[in-house]
């Protein structure tokens, strides 16, 4: 399986993603944002970080960069595109997934482990995964998911909510909402479910000695689904 990780000026989780993808069997290529064309890929990842220093709005400048035309075409033709953290912010700015990511409700940069509940397994990202709850890491200042009431209805009607913040048992409630996101939304799909944007970093949970293994479950499952 071939993957591509896009590096923007200010990306800082691109290397971690490269390590994670390779660990679970992807042949990964790093792609600079000024490239015109994506290499042949089964999966494209927009990594976390602070692309363009978060100028204007997080992800807004990166969403207009050269390579993104090719990424948007790839997504619109059914290609798998995953945006993590700043990558999620870039995806909402392209319009590939609905909504927006606002400043965290309590104005704090949040860096901690959280639990997320998988809301929809009928897609190539989460199909066949045994767990319903994953322990993942978040690190962001603008992760407060927002959308209009009309958008929320559409998102829910189309089962586009991918994951929600929850407690270790999978209970979803305000107590377990780290940043003020509507309905504890931590990640969403596009309508066709080939594009996934999420705030948590699975690439930070691939090593027991460092953190945990729930990211490993995600990547192992993902590559098996794509084979």
């Amino acid at each position: 399986m071939k993957s591509s990780v896009i590096t923007f000026p200010g990306s800082n989780c691109d290397r971690d993603m490269d390590v994670a993808l390779k660990k679970f069997g992807f042949r990964n290529k790093m792609v600079w944002h000024q490239e015109d064309e994506l290499p042949k890929s089964d999966l494209v990842v927009l990594p976390g970080g602070f692309s363009y220093g978060d100028y204007l709005r997080c992800g807004s400048m990166a969403s207009k960069s050269k390579i993104m035309k090719s990424v948007i075409n790839f997504a619109n033709s059914g290609g798998m595109v995953m945006g993590i953290c700043n990558g999620f912010q870039i995806l909402v700015e392209t319009g590939l997934v609905p909504g927006a990511l606002l400043r965290n409700k309590y104005l704090e940069f949040i860096c901690k482990n959280v639990f997320v509940k998988i809301n929809n397994k009928d897609n190539a990202y989460f199909k066949n995964i045994d767990n319903t709850v994953l322990k993942l890491h978040i690190a962001h200042n603008e992760g407060n998911y927002f959308c209009t009431n009309d958008q929320l209805k559409e998102i829910e009607d189309n089962a586009q909510v991918a994951i929600n913040y929850c407690d270790p048992s999978g209970k979803i409630g305000q107590l377990y909402n780290p940043n003020g996101s509507i309905k504890n939304i931590a990640g969403i799909f596009n309508k066709a479910k080939n594009v996934l944007g999420m705030m948590p970093h699975p690439e930070r949970m691939i090593d027991t000695s460092l953190s945990g293994e729930d990211g490993s479950l995600f990547f192992k499952n993902l590559i098996n689904n794509l084979k």
């Binding site: 807004s60 207009k64 927006a100 606002l102 400043r103 409700k105 104005l107 407060n144 209009t148």
Partner: protein
């Protein structure tokens, strides 16, 4: 021509920064304040000399980049 644009968060979008500024003002004794909303201000210097055309172009810039219409409104406040 110089065009000035203000981008603000929509009414129903939470503005935590505005809230904190409001609290600070309150603490400083400005107790008459009802609400504070924080926004962005842009000055765009363009080669276009026709005011109508310049305004239309800046409007397009607002829609495509300067504002995110899911959460923000824009207002062109000055063309000169």
């Amino acid at each position: 021509m110089k065009i000035s644009v203000i981008v603000t968060l929509k009414k129903d979008v939470l503005d935590p920064q505005g809230k904190v500024i409001h609290q600070a003002l309150d603490g400083m004794g400005f107790n008459e304040v009802n609400e504070v909303r924080q926004g962005k201000y842009f000055e765009i210097d363009t080669q276009e000399t026709n005011p109508k055309k310049a305004k239309d172009k800046v409007e397009e810039m607002c829609k495509k980049l300067l504002a995110n219409l899911v959460i923000e409104n824009y207002r062109i406040i000055d063309v000169q």
